[in-house]
């Protein structure tokens, strides 16, 4: 074998893949050193979508930064909203009402479904199964319709606010969620029928991009990709936030740590998310959906028109925001892509002194080299898709 390789001596060349490559995710630029068709070294070159989000946060009031978090992982913006407002709440040391917690869980899981659907759809499209993308988009459209009903926007939601949520989770939304839960399982089974047994899908994913549990932990992988390597680590289960400790759901794990396991993990997570939504919508109590602290959450509009005190709070909230105590805080959630953490340093003012985002796409991308070494060039597509990086989040 080696002799043959010596005979056909190929020179190692460097290939630039992306950012204009049709099957690259967003604006990822991969610099690949290849020997023939085999990858010697893969290096992601990022930063094409850098917008200085962390710096923007330093110049905005705490509540004004929420719309910017939508633009991080724009496929599942509710999770970003959640990560940010949760860490601000931790800094302020406030406890949100029960109803708001259930609403947040339901909303975050809806966005997880939307994110995973697109991840699988785009992945299948990259590997040549176009119909899955169309079906996944159809289901995603339904989830986006729920979002439009809930908060008036389909992608950049800005639904959560520090101290609660902006709009109520109406009965109409609950009905739409119930309809989704009865509609989706058969659709997800359809994807599985098309993909899971398909020989092309298996050949392009099984045994590709294998990462052992130790390697995955060493490289700081998180999310479905880490769980596919056999590490049972889900922040929703292990460090529960909101009401996840009261809900019954499973954390799917894989055994081989290859692309196929990551696919199966994502599929199972969609099903588990629907279980969570069913429970969250069922158990959602009545009551207020914002904290009763007028400095942090201005009183509802009807009060503002009649009550002088409320009007003062409203003006103060809009024009000056609220002051957070001096200190540092880190809080993280399980976003569709992995661990999304927000670290805030406060100097006691109404703007963060420093804000750091631990974005899962960025952290996960550093495993690309370990996964693709020795693989074929075409496998890199499957590997990148299996990590599902979103560049709004990676480049920040």
């Amino acid at each position: 074998m080696t002799e043959k390789n010596d005979l056909i001596a190929t020179k190692e060349i460097t290939l630039h893949m992306g950012p204009q490559h049709p099957s690259m995710h967003g604006v990822l630029h991969l610099i690949l050193d290849i020997q023939g068709e085999k990858i010697v070294h893969a290096e992601p070159d990022i930063g094409y979508l850098h917008r200085g989000t962390e710096k923007i946060a330093e110049n905005l009031l705490y509540h004004q930064f929420v719309p910017y978090t939508d633009r991080l992982d724009y496929m599942a913006s509710m999770s970003n909203n959640l990560a940010y407002v949760q860490s601000v709440e931790k800094l302020l040391g406030i406890e949100i009402p029960e109803r708001a917690k259930y609403i947040r869980v339901a909303a975050a899981e809806l966005s997880r479904i939307a994110g995973h659907l697109l991840a699988i759809g785009a992945w299948a499209l990259d590997l040549g199964a176009m119909s899955i993308l169309l079906y996944a988009m159809r289901e995603r459209e339904y989830v986006l319709d729920i979002f439009e009903m809930l908060c008036g926007s389909r992608m950049t939601l800005t639904y959560l606010r520090v101290g609660g949520v902006r709009y109520d989770f109406t009965q109409e939304c609950k009905d739409a969620c119930a309809r989704m839960i009865e509609l989706f399982p058969s659709r997800i089974d359809e994807y599985e029928t098309i993909l899971t047994g398909n020989r092309v899908w298996i050949q392009r994913n099984k045994g590709i991009g294998v990462l052992t549990a130790e390697q995955a932990l060493d490289l700081g992988l998180s999310g479905p990709a880490l769980r596919a390597s056999g590490v049972k680590w889900d922040i929703r289960k292990d460090e529960p936030y909101l009401v996840y400790d009261r809900l019954d759901f499973d954390v799917p794990t894989g055994t081989n740590g290859d692309c196929f396991d990551r696919y199966l993990c994502r599929m199972e997570e969609i099903r588990q998310s629907m279980r969570i939504i069913r429970q969250a919508v069922r158990d959602m109590p009545d009551g207020p959906f914002n904290v009763d602290i007028p400095e942090i959450c201005p009183p509802p509009k009807p009060d503002v028109y009649k009550n002088m005190e409320a009007l003062i709070h409203h003006f103060k909230y809009v024009s000056q925001g609220f002051k957070a105590p001096k200190g540092e805080v880190y809080s993280s959630i399980e976003s569709p892509k992995g661990e999304l953490g927000v670290y805030i340093v406060s100097d006691g003012g109404e703007k963060p002194f420093r804000l750091k985002l631990r974005s899962p796409s960025f952290m996960n991308l550093q495993t690309v080299n370990a996964m693709s070494e020795g693989m074929y060039l075409a496998d890199v597509i499957a590997i990148i898709s299996s990590l599902d990086p979103v560049f709004g989040e990676c480049d920040k």
């Binding site: 319709d145 809930l150 908060c151 008036g152 950049t156 509609l183 359809e190 029928t193 409203h314 809009v318």
Partner: protein, 194 residues
């Protein structure tokens, strides 16, 4: 044990030769091809148009009272609340009854290129003058038309407030010298197929 394994392999081989994995998938895609109920696309803009839900955050609108007076009192809270500083408000005195108070907006303009459509101006407005409406066709030819002025935003909305939305309405494409517009017929609507 070995025999059983051999049998199993033969079954697998037969399945492979008969392309059962492909056939299963093709049955699904073919099923969608023959049934007309499964068409989920909307014939936009020629025949249909999506009417968004009531909470939809589209183009800004400035509202009036029932007797036609402007609700805006030019308090500038919307421009303060805006994360991108895209709203410009210049107040002026006017006691002719144009607004609900003596202070009205001389200039109220929003730069849609910068706008995030977060709806914070709507939340900040103490008189419910600013609302984010249901207009979403905002494409234009140059940047000047991306800045919307008070006069333009004060026009009545094509979709009335009472309509809850979330439906696909019959529409037609109209070509005017200024460009094209999609006019929806709100009396004839249908739910989106899922």
């Amino acid at each position: 044990m070995n025999e059983g394994k051999g049998r199993f392999d033969i079954m697998e081989l037969i399945k492979k030769v008969l392309f059962t994995d492909f056939v299963k998938g093709l049955v699904i895609t073919f099923g969608y091809n023959v049934s007309m109920d499964s068409v989920i696309t909307v014939k936009y803009p020629d025949e249909e148009k999506w009417i968004p839900y009531r909470r939809f955050r589209g183009l800004h609108t400035l509202n009036r009272t029932a007797d036609g007076r402007e609700l805006c009192v030019a308090c500038e809270l919307c421009s303060k609340a805006c994360p991108t500083r895209c709203i410009t408000v210049i107040p002026m005195e006017d006691n002719t009854g144009r607004g609900i108070s003596d202070r009205v907006a001389k200039v109220w303009k929003v730069d849609l290129v910068r706008c995030l459509f977060c709806g914070y101006c709507e939340d900040a407005c103490p008189t419910r003058a600013v609302r984010l409406g249901r207009e979403y066709e905002l494409a234009c030819f140059d940047r000047n038309c991306a800045v919307k002025n008070r006069e333009e935003l004060l026009r009545p909305q094509p979709v009335p407030e009472e309509m809850s939305g979330g439906v696909v309405a019959k529409a037609r494409l109209r070509t005017t010298p200024d460009g094209i517009e999609v006019v929806a017929d709100l009396s004839e609507t249908r739910k989106r197929r899922v």
